[in-house]
């Protein structure tokens, strides 16, 4: 006996699904539309369609609120941070996965447990450490801090990818006289490319979006990343009410993420759920 799901059950289930889709999409779409509205229009008709599309808000944000500089800073921090993470994580992940040495398990556990520790406590000493190293209020310093902060997650994902590479390839290469450095660079790295790409996309989104460490470790406006610049505009908006400019800067921040999500949706989802399941 197979019970068919009734027509009404299916409609009943769809109602919350559709409502939640609206709850997610409507504010985002409306933010994008708001970026094309004049301020007067936002006040007159905050939740409707714009009369005409104008790029005035984007120009205002770009040139009068230094968004151009902060986009540049964010790009540097994101790119450099992601690269540094890989440089640090790939050899360590390989050693932890394939090389036998005393303390292997311990080191792996140490890295992984750092994912669960609240880093807030460390930020105060980190502030002074960066000051001593002349890396405070410096986007390169921030890129280093970001890279190290994503190290545990990256090592975790990369080791699990490397575990799927057959050992026979390395053994054959070693017999042919290939040095371990070359094996790592010419065999392991290309074969773990799927994992490397997943990790890199996750890290880039993380660095592009990050706000709090930037708030603590950057001070001058010329070094602001996009998240800080937007927060700054948002605080200004309390007084100037230039909502259009604020929305334009939000759109600038969110468009790269939307593009990455459109291309790499599956990888991002997989990377995030696996990162969370490590428990």
């Amino acid at each position: 006996m197979k019970r068919k799901q009734g027509f009404w059950t299916k409609i009943g289930v769809r109602i919350p699904l559709v409502l939640w889709s609206l709850a997610v999409l409507y504010p985002i779409l409306w933010m994008i539309l708001g970026a094309f509205k004049s301020n007067a229009e936002i006040y007159a008709n905050p939740w409707g369609l714009p009369d005409s599309f104008s790029f005035g808000n984007f120009i205002d944000a770009w040139s009068n609120y230094n968004i151009d500089i902060s986009v540049f800073n964010s790009l540097i921090v994101t790119g450099l941070g992601a690269l540094l993470t890989l440089v640090m994580a790939i050899p360590t992940a390989y050693a932890l996965e394939r090389l036998r040495f005393r303390g292997n398990r311990l080191l792996f556990t140490l890295y992984i447990s750092a994912m669960m520790i609240p880093m807030v406590l460390g930020w105060i000493p980190l502030f002074f450490l960066l000051m001593q190293l002349n890396l405070l209020d410096n986007i390169f310093g921030l890129a280093i801090v970001y890279a190290v902060s994503q190290l545990p997650f990256s090592i975790f994902v990369l080791t699990s990818f490397m575990a799927t590479i057959p050992k026979s390839l390395e053994e054959a290469a070693a017999i042919d006289g290939m040095s371990p450095y070359k094996i790592l660079w010419k065999i392991i790295t290309p074969l773990s490319m799927t994992g490397i790409i997943t990790v890199t996309i996750m890290n880039m989104i993380q660095f592009w979006n990050e706000y709090f460490m930037a708030l603590i470790f950057l001070q001058s406006e010329n070094n602001y990343t996009l998240a800080l610049a937007i927060d700054y505009i948002s605080n200004e908006t309390q007084y100037t009410n230039s909502w259009g400019t604020l929305f334009a800067s939000l759109v600038i921040a969110i468009v790269p993420v939307i593009i990455l999500y459109a291309i790499f949706q599956r990888r991002i989802v997989k990377g995030m759920t696996e990162g969370a399941i490590k428990g």
């Binding site: 197979k2 019970r3 299916k10 769809r14 919350p16 699904l17 939640w20 889709s21 997610v24 504010p27 985002i28 933010m31 006040y43 905050p46 939740w47 640090m88 050899p91 360590t92 390989y94 050693a95 090389l99 890295y111 669960m116 609240p118 880093m119 807030v120 406590l121 460390g122 930020w123 105060i124 000493p125 502030f127 002074f128 450490l129 280093i144 890279a147 190290v148 902060s149 070693a174 371990p180 450095y181 979006n209 990050e210 706000y211 709090f212 708030l215 603590i216 998240a227 937007i230 948002s234 604020l246 921040a253 969110i254 993420v257 949706q265 989802v269 759920t273 969370a276 399941i277 428990g279």
Partner: protein, 297 residues
Amino acid sequence: MVQSKKQRYLFLAFCLVPTFLMFALFTLYPLVNGLYYSFFQWSGSSSVAEFTGFDNYRKLFNDEIIPATIWHDYFLVITKIIGIMILATFFAVALTQMRIKEAPFYRIVFFFPNIMSVVVIGILWMFIYNPSLGLVNSGLEFLGLGEWTKAWLGNEKWALPSLVLPSVWAGIGLFMLMLMGGISNISKSYYEAAEIDGANGWQQFWKITLPLVWPQIKISILYIIITTLNGSFIIVQVMTKGGPNNATHVMGSYLYEEAFVKYNFGYGATIGVMILVLSLITVLIMQYFMRREKVEY
């Protein structure tokens, strides 16, 4: 080719040492040093750090704002767990078991807020809560509930509950997908057997789905606890900065204010130690309570 022992160690060191040094310098050392700082009175200028023993801890226990920040954090933890788990479970079951054609669409849409910046989410929701322009108040007026409208984030009573909705909004997709992963691993034969025994949809949910996805539910709840205790201050900082009148301060935002706005670095570190201890204790307690024999049929 057999590598010599020395070459082997050299390669091992090449792989491990530089990374570990960076990790030790930028993660381990700051954490340990934070513990050390908590015993000092320090305003940041390096020469005048004064050892004060447990003074900061005494101050912590007598600080009237501290219990409020702890309560606010746990309020967010509890409301987020309830809100996210109920909705995520419902959506996960609906999308895996109801044979809905457009399921991939919902999956893609629901997950998207998970990768949005907290700054963007916070500002978006500040506008949604805006007293004169916002969606919430205009919606209430549209429904004829004009007397319910208020300045949500400026109201001492409503500011904290108002932060729950953006957090649930932003979090649901990830947990829905984690649960969907669990549900799709459940063998169809259990449901078929239950059908034959005449179990209805609810009974199937309580007797089959829920026990078998318990590992995923447990991980989700622990993950919500960890991310909330370690990160709730970000949305607080963006949306309310702890105001109005400390009504939304959580432990992390209070630490930020004490350390980086008022320059009480020693006291800030003490708050940091409290956050660390509380989140470890909470996770351990939850792990104890949610341990449950693995279900096998």
